[in-house]
C-alpha cells in the first residue's frame, strides 16, 4: 500500500527560513466518529488552515464542521486560565490554587462520605489515552466505583446487543469501503447525510453501482430522500418492523439454512417469535404498508452483498438493545455477518465513541473491553497498574443513574467532568441540572464555558485536538493518530496533565504520566489479551498503515479489518440468535400529551453545541433550535411557520420557532438537541432506561405543543 505523507510535523520550507515556515500535520477532524482525515497548516501569519485529506475513510471529503474546526482554537470564548467560584461567581485563578482546591475538597468529601462520593464523568470525544487515564484515575487515584461517560447515551444499546450476539462490540466489523459496494444497504434510524456527511459518499457510490438503499426513519430526512425505498414507521416501532421483515424472509423461504446450521445457535426460538409478527399486524403498529415491508425483505434477501446498519434512531430507546438484536437476528437469518461484503454494523456517533467505550470509562469495564467483575480481568489490569486486584472498585452505575443520584443521600457529592456537557445532553435535563447544582464540588475540564462548566466550582482550561497527540478509534474499529500542530496556549493544560497533577496531590502521582505516548504504551499492555486488544498497535504503525484495526494482539500481526470471517467471539464460536418482542414505548401518546417527540441532530451542529454554536459559519447555517412539524398538525394548532411554540412533556418544556415541513409524520414533532436554556430539547426527553444497556429513551416521548 502506498503511504501518503503522514504524521510527523514537517517543515515545508526545508528549514531554510524558520521565521516564515509553514508547518502542517496530517491529523483527523475533532468531531464525529468518521474522523475524516484532515491536514492542519499553521501559516506564517499565525493562522491555522484546515484542508481535507485523502484518507481511506473520507476520501478527501469533509463537511462544514470540519472545514471550520480551527476557528475555535483562538476563539474569544476560549478559556485560558482556570476559574474558581467565589461568592457565587467564577473568577480567574492560578493552576496551583485550582488544583489544590479540587484535591482538598476531594479529600474532605471522601473522608466524610467514602470513596464513592466522588464521581467521574467522561466523554466519547476523548482520545484513547485520555479515556484510559481517566478510567485508571477513577479506580487507582480516586478509588471510586462511580465513573461513566456520555457514550452511555450513544453507543450502549448497540454495544450490548453486539456483545450478546457476536461476543464482541466493534461498530463496523468491516471497512467502510464495503458499504459502497453493497447491493442492498439498510439504514435503520441513521441520518448520515447530516450526522456524518462524507459518509454519504458511500451511499452515492452504492447507488451508482446500481445498489438498493432502504432507509427506516420516522422522518423523510436528507438521507431518506436518497433512498430507493423509505419506510416511515411510528416512533418506537423499529423492533416490530425488524421482526416482520424476518417473518417475511422466513415465509418466503429466503433464510440461509446452511449458515444458520453451521454458524449460529438459537434460531428455533426466534423463528417462533417472529411467527407472531405477520406483516398485516406490523403494518398496523408501524404504519408501514405490507407491500413496502415485502419489497424491503425481498431486496435484503436478494442474495447479493447486503449490509444492515443501525444508529441512534433505533438504539436510543428503552428497548434499544432488543431493537438492535432484532436487526441482528434478521442479518443472521440471511447469513450476512462474516460473509465478504455483507454484514451487520452500527454507526458510532462521537469522535472516539468506539475507543472511548473500550478502555475503562464505562462503569462496568476495565481496559481492553474487560468486565470489571471478572476476576481474571481485574488481576491482569491490576498487575499493569501495580495495585492489588482487591483494591480495584467494583462496577458502578450507568451514566443516567449516576447523574440522577448526584447530591442525594447515598449519591456522589463531587463530580469531575471531562469532555462532556450533560446539562444539555442528558435526558430529563432540567432534573439532571438540578442534581448537578446540588453537588458540593463540580469540576469541569473544557476549552469553553459550556452550560455544565458554567455551574462548576472549578473550571480547568484544557487543550484542543490540534494541540495534543494521541489516538482515536473510528467507527470501523480503526485506530487513528491525532497529531498536535501546536502547543496549547499559555495557561492551558492537557487532560493528562490535570489527571497527573490531581493524582500527585492525592498520593498516587507516580502511577500517572502527562505523556500520551507513555499512556498508550501502558494501554497496549492493559488491553493485551482483552476483547479490544491493542497490544500490537503502535503509533508508528498507525501512521504507516493508515490506521490499524483492532484486535491486533502483536506487532507482527496485521490487525483485523474484517471480523467474523471464520468464527464469532462467543465461547462456542457461533453467533447467537435471541428472541425479542416488541413492547410499547415507555411513554405512549394520550389525550393530554397527544404527540410523539423525537430528537436528533442537524448538519451544522455537533452534540451539545458547546463547540459548534461558537463558530460563526455554523451559527449562521443553524442559528437556533426549532420544532419541526407537519403543516396539517400546525394548522390544527393554529401555528404558522416561524411562530414560537412551547413543547411540554411530563418532565419539562422547551420553546423554539416552529418549522413546517411535510417530511414528518403528522403525529410526530422533531427537535434538535444541540441547544441549552429555554430551547433545550432534553428538558422534554424521557429518562426511561433500557434494562440492559441503561440507554435513555431519547427518541420517543409524549408531548403537547402550543403557540407561545
Amino acid at each position: 500500500m502506498a503511504k501518503p505523507l503522514l504524521g510527523t510535523l514537517r517543515d515545508m520550507t526545508g528549514g531554510a527560513e524558520a521565521v516564515t515556515a509553514t508547518r502542517e500535520v496530517a491529523t483527523h477532524c475533532p468531531y464525529c466518529a468518521l474522523q475524516c482525515g484532515m491536514t492542519l497548516r499553521a501559516t506564517p501569519e499565525g493562522k491555522t488552515e484546515v484542508l481535507a485529506r485523502q484518507f481511506p475513510t473520507n476520501r478527501g471529503g469533509m463537511c462544514q464542521k470540519g472545514w471550520t474546526s480551527a476557528e475555535l482554537l483562538d476563539h474569544p470564548d476560549r478559556l485560558l486560565t482556570p476559574l474558581v467560584r467565589e461568592d457565587g461567581a467564577l473568577r480567574p485563578a492560578t493552576w496551583e490554587e485550582a488544583l489544590d482546591k479540587i484535591a482538598g475538597a476531594i479529600g474532605r468529601i471522601q473522608d466524610e462520605h467514602g470513596r464513592d462520593a466522588v464521581a467521574v464523568f467522561g466523554g466519547g470525544g476523548l482520545t484513547n489515552e485520555k479515556a484510559y487515564a481517566l478510567g485508571k484515575f477513577a479506580r487507582v487515584g480516586l478509588r471510586t466505583k462511580n465513573i461513566d461517560y456520555n457514550g452511555r447515551f450513544c453507543m450502549s444499546s448497540a454495544a450490548a446487543a453486539g456483545m450478546k450476539a457476536f461476543g464482541v462490540d466493534r461498530g463496523l466489523p468491516f471497512p467502510l469501503s464495503d458499504i459502497g459496494e453493497a447491493d442492498t444497504l439498510l439504514l435503520v434510524g441513521a441520518n448520515v447525510a447530516e450526522t456524518m456527511p462524507p459518509f454519504a459518499r458511500y451511499l452515492t457510490e452504492q447507488k451508482q453501482r446500481g445498489g438498493t438503499l432502504i432507509v427506516i426513519d420516522p422522518r423523510l430526512t436528507t438521507t431518506a430522500r436518497q433512498a430507493t425505498l423509505h419506510l416511515q414507521p411510528t416512533p418506537g416501532t423499529d423492533l416490530a418492523l425488524a421482526n416482520a421483515l424476518l417473518h417475511i424472509v422466513l415465509s418466503e423461504g429466503w433464510i440461509d439454512k446452511d449458515y444458520i446450521a453451521a454458524r449460529t445457535t438459537g434460531f428455533a426460538d426466534v423463528r417462533r417469535t417472529v411467527a407472531s409478527y405477520w406483516p398485516a399486524r406490523v403494518e398496523r403498529m408501524t404504519g408501514v404498508p405490507v407491500a413496502d415491508l415485502e419489497a424491503a425483505a425481498r431486496a435484503l434477501a436478494s442474495g447479493g452483498k447486503t449490509i444492515i446498519l443501525t444508529a441512534r434512531g433505533a438504539e436510543q430507546h428503552a428497548k434499544g438493545v432488543d431493537t438492535v438484536t432484532a436487526y441482528i437476528n434478521l442479518a443472521l437469518a440471511l447469513g450476512l455477518p462474516g460473509r465478504p461484503g455483507s454484514g451487520y454494523g452500527c454507526l458510532t456517533g462521537q469522535g472516539n465513541g468506539q475507543g472511548g467505550r473500550e478502555h475503562g470509562q464505562k462503569a462496568d469495564q476495565l481496559p481492553g473491553y474487560r468486565k470489571i467483575d471478572d476476576p481474571a480481568a481485574r488481576a491482569h489490569v491490576a498487575a499493569v497498574w501495580g495495585v492489588d486486584p482487591d483494591e480495584l472498585p467494583g462496577p458502578g452505575v450507568s451514566a443516567y443513574e449516576l447523574l440522577d443520584s448526584l447530591g442525594t443521600p447515598g449519591g456522589p457529592k463531587a463530580m469531575l467532568v471531562f469532555g462532556s456537557n450533560p446539562v444539555v445532553s442528558a435526558p430529563r435535563a432540567a432534573h439532571i441540572e438540578e442534581r448537578i447544582r446540588s453537588l458540593d464540588l463540580l469540576v469541569v475540564s473544557d476549552f469553553v464555558l459550556s452550560e455544565t462548566a458554567a455551574l462548576a466550582d472549578v473550571v480547568l482550561p484544557t487543550a484542543q485536538w490540534a494541540e495534543e497527540d494521541g489516538t482515536m478509534t473510528n467507527l470501523e474499529g480503526r485506530v487513528l493518530r491525532r497529531h498536535a500542530l501546536r502547543e496549547p496556549p499559555p495557561g492551558v493544560r492537557t487532560d493528562l496533565a490535570v489527571i497527573a497533577e490531581l493524582a500527585s496531590r492525592l498520593g498516587t502521582g507516580d502511577r500517572f504520566t502527562t505523556e500520551p505516548r507513555a499512556v498508550f504504551e501502558e494501554l497496549r499492555r492493559a488491553s493485551a489479551g482483552g476483547t479490544a486488544d491493542y497490544a500490537g498497535v503502535t503509533w508508528e504503525r498507525v501512521d504507516a498503515e493508515d490506521g490499524v484495526f483492532w484486535p491486533c494482539p502483536s506487532v507482527d500481526q496485521p490487525g483485523t479489518p474484517r471480523l467474523f470471517v471464520d468464527t464469532f467471539a462467543t465461547p462456542d464460536g457461533r453467533a447467537r440468535f435471541l428472541p425479542v418482542e416488541h413492547r410499547p414505548a415507555a411513554e405512549e401518546v394520550d389525550a393530554e400529551y397527544p404527540l410523539y417527540l423525537t430528537t436528533g441532530r442537524v448538519l451544522a451542529q455537533y452534540q451539545s453545541g458547546a463547540q459548534t454554536r461558537r463558530i460563526g459559519p455554523l451559527r449562521k447555517a443553524a442559528p437556533n433550535a426549532f420544532v419541526e412539524m407537519h403543516p396539517d398538525l400546525a394548522a390544527r394548532l393554529g401555528v404558522e411557520h416561524g411562530d414560537e411554540v412551547v413543547v411540554t412533556s411530563r418532565r419539562g418544556q422547551m420553546r423554539a420557532p416552529a418549522r413546517l415541513t411535510e417530511t414528518i409524520r403528522p403525529d410526530t414533532v422533531f427537535a434538535p438537541f444541540h441547544w441549552g436554556g429555554a430551547a433545550r430539547a432534553n428538558s422534554l426527553t424521557s429518562d426511561a432506561l433500557d434494562p440492559t444497556s441503561r440507554m435513555p429513551e431519547f427518541k420517543v416521548c409524549a408531548v403537547k405543543v402550543e403557540l407561545a
Binding site: 462544514q64 415465509s251 423461504g253 407472531s276 403494518e283
Partner: protein, 478 residues
C-alpha cells in the same frame, strides 16, 4: 392461585404468554384440544400455498416458568360449584379461575348429500392445522379445487390453493365477494384481480348439493348447474364453540356473554377470543382476542385490576402475492354527513373508497396499489384527523416531499436555495464566486467548499457553473 385456560389457539396461547411474562406465582394449566404446539392460524393459507411448512407456523410457547401445558386434552365437564374440570380421560382439575378460550368451529351448511358430521375424503373445512393437513393430502395430485364461500376465509383458502398451481373456483351465494367488508364496486375489481391469479368467482351462486366420489367432488347449484373438481373446501364461516359453557350453565347467546373484564356470568370464569361475546359482538379476529388476553392477564395478575376491554376498530386485511386488500369500518354511516373519497382504476386492479365524518375516517376499502394504506389504517385505528389535502390518502405521502436540487433549472432557482447542504453553500454564493473570478468547477469548489461533504450536489454545482459560463458568454457576445 390456580388458573386453568381451556383452549390453546391464538387467544389461549397469548394469555399463557401474557401471564408468564408477568412472572406471577400463579399456577397455570393450559388444556388444548389440538395435538400441536401453539401455532399461528393466520399463516395457514401460506401452509396451503406450500410456502411454509408446519414448523414455520409455530409460535412461542409459554411452557416452563410454572406453566403446565397439555395439548390433546379435551374437557368434558365443568363443575362450577366445586370449581373443577373433568377431562376426557376422567382426570379432575381444580381451578380458582377458569378462562375459556375454546375458539370456534367451522360451519358446514346443510347440503343434500353431505354428512356434516363426517365429511367425505375430498371435502374439508379450513380452520385448523389438521384441516390444512386434510386439504393438502387431497390437494397433492389435484388440479382443480372448489371453495364454497367468498368471505375472507374462503378467499384465503382459494389463494393458498391457487398458489399451489390449482385451478380454483369460488362459489359465493351473495352478489358480491366479502359482502360484510366490501361494496359491489370493490368486489368487481377483486373478481378481476382473482382471475389474474387463477381464481374464478361464481357470484349469486347458491349451493344445494354435494356429490363426493372417489376421484372427484361435484357441487350442485340452485338452478341445476353443477361444478366438479378434485377437491372442495367449505368456508362458510365459523360458529363460537360454546357447548361446554352452555352445559355449565353460563349465559350464552351467539357466544359466551362477557363483561368489560371478560368475566362470564360466573365471576370465577372468563372467556376470550372467538368464543366470547362482548357487547353483543363476537369478533372472530386475532387483534381483539389478543387485547382480551391482555386485559384478563392484567386483571388476574393484579398489575391493573381496573383494566377494561374496549373494542378495537376492526381492520380486515387480505395480502398475498397479487392481492392487496384492506377494509375497515363502515363505508356508509347512517344519518351522518359523510364525505366520500374514491379512486378506481379497475384495469390495474386499484380501488379505493374512504368515508370521512368530522375529519375522521369512519370506513375505508382499499384494493390494489394504495401507497397510503399504512397511513389510512393508522388514522382509522386511532381516530386521528385526516390530512387537509385528501389526495395524500389516495396517492401516498409523497406530495411536496422536497425535490432534489438537481431537478431545478439553475436559471429558475432562487439565490437563497442551498445547493450544498454539507457546507451551506447557496446558489447566490456560487454566483458571487463566479462573478469574482472563479471560472471552473474546481475554482468554485476551492473557494466555497461546495461538493466536499457528501458529494451529492456535484451535478447541481456543475450545472450552475455551466449555466453561468453560458450566461456570461452570451453577455459578452451581446
Amino acid at each position: 392461585m390456580k388458573v386453568v385456560i381451556v383452549g390453546y389457539g391464538m387467544a389461549g396461547s397469548r394469555l399463557a404468554a401474557e401471564l408468564r411474562d408477568r412472572g406471577t406465582d400463579m399456577k397455570i394449566t393450559v388444556l388444548g384440544a389440538e395435538q400441536h404446539r401453539a401455532y399461528n392460524r393466520i399463516m395457514l393459507s401460506s401452509v396451503l400455498a406450500g410456502k411454509v411448512g408446519e414448523r414455520d407456523v409455530e409460535i412461542t410457547e409459554a411452557a416452563g416458568h410454572g406453566i403446565d401445558l397439555r395439548p390433546g386434552v379435551t374437557v368434558t365437564a365443568v363443575d362450577r360449584a366445586a370449581r373443577q374440570l373433568t377431562t376426557a380421560d376422567g382426570e379432575q382439575i381444580e381451578y380458582d379461575h377458569l378462562v375459556l378460550a375454546t375458539g370456534s368451529r367451522a360451519l358446514v351448511p346443510p347440503l343434500a348429500g353431505l354428512d356434516t358430521t363426517n365429511l367425505p375424503d375430498r371435502v374439508a373445512v379450513f380452520r385448523t392445522l389438521d384441516d390444512c393437513r386434510r386439504i393438502l393430502a387431497t390437494a397433492d395430485g389435484a388440479r382443480t379445487a372448489l371453495v364454497l364461500g367468498g368471505g375472507l376465509l374462503g378467499l384465503e383458502a382459494a389463494r393458498g390453493l391457487a398458489a399451489r398451481g390449482l385451478d380454483v373456483q369460488v362459489v359465493h351465494a351473495v352478489g358480491h365477494l366479502m359482502e360484510r367488508q366490501l361494496d359491489p364496486g370493490a368486489s368487481a375489481v377483486l373478481v378481476r384481480t382473482l382471475a389474474g391469479i387463477g381464481i374464478t368467482a361464481h357470484l349469486d351462486a347458491m349451493a344445494s348439493s354435494v356429490t363426493a366420489g372417489p376421484d372427484s367432488v361435484t357441487l350442485g347449484l340452485a338452478g341445476g348447474r353443477e361444478l366438479t373438481a378434485d377437491l372442495l373446501v367449505v368456508a362458510c364461516g365459523v360458529r363460537p364453540e360454546t357447548e361446554m359453557a352452555r352445559t355449565a350453565g353460563l349465559t350464552v347467546e351467539r357466544g359466551i356473554v362477557v363483561d368489560d373484564r371478560m368475566r362470564t356470568s360466573d365471576p370465577a370464569i372468563s372467556a376470550i377470543g372467538d368464543c366470547a361475546q362482548h357487547d353483543g359482538v363476537v369478533s372472530g379476529l386475532v387483534a381483539p382476542a389478543w387485547e382480551q388476553a391482555r386485559i384478563v392477564a392484567r386483571v388476574l395478575a393484579g398489575d391493573d385490576p381496573t383494566a377494561r376491554y374496549r373494542p378495537l376498530p376492526v381492520v380486515t386485511r387480505l395480502k398475498a402475492a397479487g392481492i392487496d386488500l384492506a377494509a375497515m369500518g363502515n363505508p356508509a354511516p347512517e344519518g351522518a354527513v359523510a364525505e366520500e373519497l374514491s379512486f378506481a382504476d379497475p384495469v390495474r386492479g386499484t380501488y379505493a373508497k374512504l368515508t370521512i365524518v368530522d375529519e375522521r375516517l369512519t370506513g375505508a376499502i382499499m384494493l390494489g396499489d394504495n401507497p397510503a394504506i399504512g397511513t389510512v389504517i393508522q388514522l382509522f385505528d386511532r381516530g386521528a384527523p385526516v390530512p387537509v389535502d385528501r389526495r395524500a390518502l389516495l396517492l401516498g405521502r409523497a406530495i411536496g416531499g422536497g425535490a432534489a436540487v438537481t431537478a431545478e433549472s439553475p436559471a429558475l432557482m432562487p439565490d437563497a436555495v442551498t445547493v450544498c447542504q454539507c457546507n451551506t453553500v447557496t446558489k447566490g454564493t456560487l454566483v458571487r464566486c463566479w462573478r469574482s473570478g472563479a471560472r471552473s468547477v474546481d475554482d468554485v469548489v476551492a473557494a466555497t467548499r461546495a461538493t466536499t461533504g457528501c458529494g451529492t450536489c456535484r451535478d447541481a454545482v456543475e450545472g450552475i457553473v455551466e449555466w453561468l459560463s453560458t450566461v456570461d458568454s452570451t453577455e459578452v457576445a451581446a
